[in-house]
Amino acid sequence: MKPFAYQRPDSVAEAVRMNAERPDARFLGGGTNLVDLMKLGVESPGLLIDVSGLPLDQVTATDEGGLRIGATVRNSDLAAHRAVRDRYPVLSQALLAGASGQLRNAATTGGNLLQRTRCPYFQDTSKPCNKRTPGTGCPAREGVHRDLAVLGHSEDCVATHPSDMAVALAALDATVHLHGPEGERAVPVTELHRLPGDDPGRDTVLRPGELITEVVLPPAPGGSASLYRKARDRASYAFALASVAAVLTVRDGRVQQASLAFGGLAHRPWRARAAEDVLRGAPATEETFARAADAELAAARPLRDNGFKVTLARRLTVGALKELTARAG
């Protein structure tokens, strides 16, 4: 690991100013991803700006009836929060399906969104990787890619975004609030992460030096139910092979509103708008759910060893929607 300086700013403004002065700086949240990558030599910041103590650790109600989640709220606290459990169970469940008790206690909302891919080549500095070192190639495409993307990948990169939380936030239409050297702005979480295209080095649309300050959830749609389903190689403490976050409103046997997002399939949480179009207004039956999943997954381009993810995602989707429909009674 390279040596680095360490600063603990007292305010958002100070954190942003410190970062603007140092192109080699990184913000430090819980450190569960960044410190790991520094040990591996993938990240080598000259300055760590510790934002974990900033006063962004609250979950509060918005005037519109939604929820404002500070960027330093720990994953375990967010999962346990009363309002999240009651109104956004999909978010609670996604958080609790991720990592371990220890890691969730340290991990922050901001850091979770910006965690990097678990692609084994990205994490190994002795290997080429377009995301880590642009222009060196993508060995995963022909190599070990069982865990990697089936949707939205490019010739240059087939990595997946590993976060469970972000998948739930995508289905919930959350907005990410940013504070940077050029001021403040808000980005829908579905547009925060990029597809790799020919520039896989950039995971997100974040501009240099921008700090995530909060994530805002709109009010949960009236009468909706939501859940998160995740398939993984072991029962706990493993990243998603495929996952689905679903928010569904069923009335008189018909789908009124549906929002769906997939995890583990793409370079970003994959909002399944084609599936939603099939669902909206259709009878809430297994046949509809399968048709919806197929409409979305028709775009899948599996690699040699990860075609199983398409079947998995289809089954997770149908299972989740059936369960939500059963609950709606």
Binding site: P3, V35, D36, K39, P89
Partner: protein, 190 residues
Amino acid sequence: MDTTPAKDERDAGRLTPADDRSTFTLHINGTAQTLTLDHRTTVLDALREHLGLTGAKKGCDHGQCGACTVLVDGRRANSCLLLAVAQQGSRITTVEGLAEGDRLHPLQEAFLERDALQCGYCTPGQICSAVGMIAESADGFPSHATPQEALADDGPVALGPDEIRERMSGNLCRCGAYPRIVEAIEDVAP
């Protein structure tokens, strides 16, 4: 981990010698410890290499095994991923700090009673994790194994074997002592 700043880093003017280390106080097992440490030092390395507290173990050094689990302000965390410099002001408890004098912590007793270990390498992490886990459940924190109905409830979560296994999944045991570990924790869990 190499904690000697590379000479070329210094020469490149990127860092001055004063920038890459700090003097600060850590509160470990109720004792304030003032140390001057390279910023790269993790809590795990500070404990083991600088404070002679070798209870917390280094298994993977990447957050994947739980052998390094300690309590930070009563909450469990992987000390291999915590930078020591970022823990000024927090109270850290290691397995060495759980007993009261000669009286072992009930979980330590239960692990002995149930013979919940083979090589013992994972045990300090298992025990610290279990202490934190029982407190989380008492505080009503749900888990992936908590039934949907119970999510509506704010009270303590009952700790049956399924809850214990799920909540302890961040602690691996290469020897596979899991059945006894679950029993030992069940003995102590309310």
